[in-house]
C-alpha cells in the first residue's frame, strides 16, 4: 500500500488588521506593533466607542470593481482576496488546473454578520414576503466557499465548518483526510470573520470584552491584569497539497503540516481545565511522530480572557510535563491583533510559518504583570531565533480546541509573497 502523502503549505494569503497581504502581517508581528485601533462609532453603528482589530482602509474595489463583488459581505470579500493572494503565493493558476482536483474547506465561527442582521430585520419588520433573495444567497453559511468555488472554478468539494474558533483547524483536518485519501490534490483552507456591531455588543453583554472588570481596555494575554478580549476581523487562506504535488509543480513549500489534533473540554467554564487543548496538542504531536521536546515555539490561542489564558497555560504545562525547557517559547499574537476566532487560528499558523521562515519569534505585547497561573516561557519582545518546529493552538469559550504542528522546509525566505 502506498504511504500516505506528507502535506505542505505552498501559499498563504492574509487580510488582517495589519492590512492586506502577508507582508504587513509579518512586519507587524516581527516588530511587536499593535494593530488594534479605535472604532468610529458612527461608521460601525456602535452606541459607544471601543477598540478592535479592524482591517484598515479596506477597499474591495481595488481588487474587483464589479458590482456583484462589491455587494458581497465584507467577510466574503476578505475571503476571496485572501484566497487569490494564497493562490498567487503558491504559483497556482486556477485556469491552468483541473478544478475537479481542488477542494475549498472553510472554518467560520460567526460568519456573515451585518448582512444576516439586515436579512432577518427585513423579515421581522416587514414580513417574510419582503425577504431579500440576494441577501439570502450571500448570508447562508456556505456562501463564502460557494463564491470561491464559482470564482476560481474549483469543483472538488466545498465544505464549511462552523464549530467555534478552531473551525479553520477542523477544516484543515478534514482537508488533510481528503488529501491523504487522494480524493483531491489541492485544498484551499480558509478562516474568516468580520467585525460587526452585533458581535461587539453580544460579547460585551457576555462580559467577554476588555475591560470586563474595569481597568484599561487592552489585549494583554497571560498578564495578571488581563480583563477580557479585544475583537478583531480578517481572513487567512492557505493552499495545502501533498509534498510530491508541490515538487511536481516546481514549488517550494512554505512549511510542512506534521499533525493536526482536535478535541473538546466537555465541561463548563467553571470546571474548565484545558483538557481539550491538551488532547488536541497530544493528538497533533502523535500524528507528527515527534516528542514535545522537539517543539521550539507555540503560537498560543491566549486572547486576554481570564479563563482561556489560564487553561491554555495549564494544558501546555501538562503536555510538556517535566520537559518544559526555557527554549520552548510561547507568545500570543492576539496581543497585537485581537481575537478573530477562525481567522485568528490561521493567523497563528501564519505566524508560525513567518517565524520559521524568517528566523524570529513574535512577542506577546502588553505583558507586564506575571500571573502564576499563566507561567510559561513567554516571548515579551521580538526575538531573533531559529525555530524549526512550532505548534499553533486554537480554543474557544465553548471548549472546542485544536492544534497544528508545523515544521520548516529549509527553504529560502518567502519570495513573491505579499
Amino acid at each position: 500500500m502506498e504511504p500516505e502523502p506528507a502535506l505542505v503549505i505552498t501559499g498563504v494569503g492574509v487580510v488582517s488588521p495589519f492590512g492586506v497581504g502577508i507582508g504587513p502581517f509579518t512586519d507587524g508581528i516581527r516588530r511587536g506593533k499593535s494593530a488594534i485601533r479605535q472604532l468610529d462609532p458612527a461608521k460601525w453603528n456602535l452606541s459607544s466607542s471601543c477598540t478592535a482589530g479592524s482591517v484598515p482602509d479596506f477597499r474591495p474595489e481595488e481588487f474587483d470593481g464589479d458590482y456583484r463583488f462589491l455587494r458581497l459581505p465584507r467577510i466574503t470579500q476578505f475571503s476571496v482576496i485572501a484566497t487569490d493572494l494564497a493562490l498567487r503565493d503558491a504559483l497556482f493558476d486556477p485556469q491552468r488546473t483541473s478544478g475537479e482536483a481542488v477542494g475549498v474547506f472553510s472554518g467560520m465561527m460567526h460568519g456573515v454578520m451585518d448582512q444576516t442582521e439586515h436579512y432577518y430585520s427585513t423579515i421581522f419588520d416587514k414580513g417574510a414576503k419582503f425577504a431579500n433573495p440576494l441577501l439570502f444567497q450571500s448570508t447562508v453559511p456556505n456562501a463564502t466557499v460557494s463564491e470561491i468555488s464559482l470564482r476560481f472554478g474549483f469543483k472538488g468539494m466545498a465544505l464549511t465548518i462552523t464549530s467555534g474558533a478552531p473551525s479553520s483547524f477542523l477544516a484543515l483536518k478534514m482537508a488533510s483526510i481528503a488529501l491523504r485519501a487522494r480524493r483531491i490534490r489541492t485544498a484551499v483552507i480558509l478562516g474568516a470573520e468580520e467585525l460587526s456591531s452585533r458581535t461587539l455588543g453580544t460579547y460585551r453583554l457576555l462580559r467577554r470584552l476588555s475591560p470586563t472588570r474595569g481597568g484599561e481596555e487592552l489585549s494583554c494575554p497571560f498578564d495578571a491584569k488581563r480583563n477580557g478580549m479585544i475583537l478583531s476581523e480578517g481572513a487567512v487562506a492557505m493552499i495545502v497539497e501533498a509534498e510530491q504535488e508541490a515538487e511536481a509543480r516546481g514549488v517550494t513549500p512554505k512549511a510542512a503540516i506534521l499533525g493536526v489534533g482536535a478535541a473538546h473540554d466537555a465541561c463548563g467554564t467553571a470546571g474548565r481545565d484545558g483538557g481539550g487543548l491538551e488532547g488536541a496538542m497530544r493528538e497533533a504531536l502523535a500524528a507528527a511522530h515527534i516528542p514535545f521536546t522537539s517543539v521550539d515555539y507555540i503560537a498560543a490561542t491566549g486572547n486576554s480572557s481570564r479563563v482561556l489564558d489560564e487553561v491554555e497555560s495549564a494544558a501546555i504545562r501538562r503536555v510538556a510535563g517535566a520537559s518544559l525547557r526555557p527554549h520552548v517559547r510561547v507568545s500570543s499574537i492576539k496581543s497585537m491583533l485581537g481575537e478573530s476566532f477562525s481567522a485568528g487560528a490561521l493567523l497563528g499558523v501564519a505566524a508560525c510559518i513567518a517565524a520559521i521562515r524568517n528566523g524570529f519569534l513574535p512577542p506577546t505585547v502588553n505583558y507586564v504583570n506575571p500571573d502564576p497561573l499563566c507561567e510559561l516561557s513567554h516571548v515579551l519582545q521580538p526575538e531573533d531565533a531559529a525555530p524549526e518546529i512550532a505548534i499553533a493552538n486554537s480554543a474557544c469559550f465553548g471548549g472546542n480546541s485544536a492544534a497544528v504542528v508545523l515544521a520548516g522546509t529549509h527553504s529560502a525566505p518567502m519570495k513573491g509573497n505579499r
Partner: protein
Amino acid sequence: MTREEVATAIRNLIVERLHLRISPNAINDDQPLFGEGLGLDSVEALEIVVALEERFGIVVKDTEDVKDFFYSVDTLTTYVLGAVGHAGQRSVGHVGN
C-alpha cells in the same frame, strides 16, 4: 403616477436593490435587463420582484407570461401599471421604506 414616474421608480429600484454602479438614467427603457443587456441573473430577477411588490404594493404572480414583462424597464412599466390597475388601488404609494 404617470408612466414616466413608474419607469423612473423602476430604474431607481433596480440600481439600488442590485447595488449597480451606474446611474439609473443610464438604463434605457428598451434595454434588455438580462443576457446581452444589463446581464442580470435569476436571483437578481427575484430581488426585483420583491422590490416591485414592496414599492408598488402589487403581487407579481409566478406565471409564464410574467417573464416577458421582465424584458426591459418599458415592459416592466407596462406590467406594473396593469397590476396596479388590476389591484384597483386608488394610488400607488411608497410602501415600506
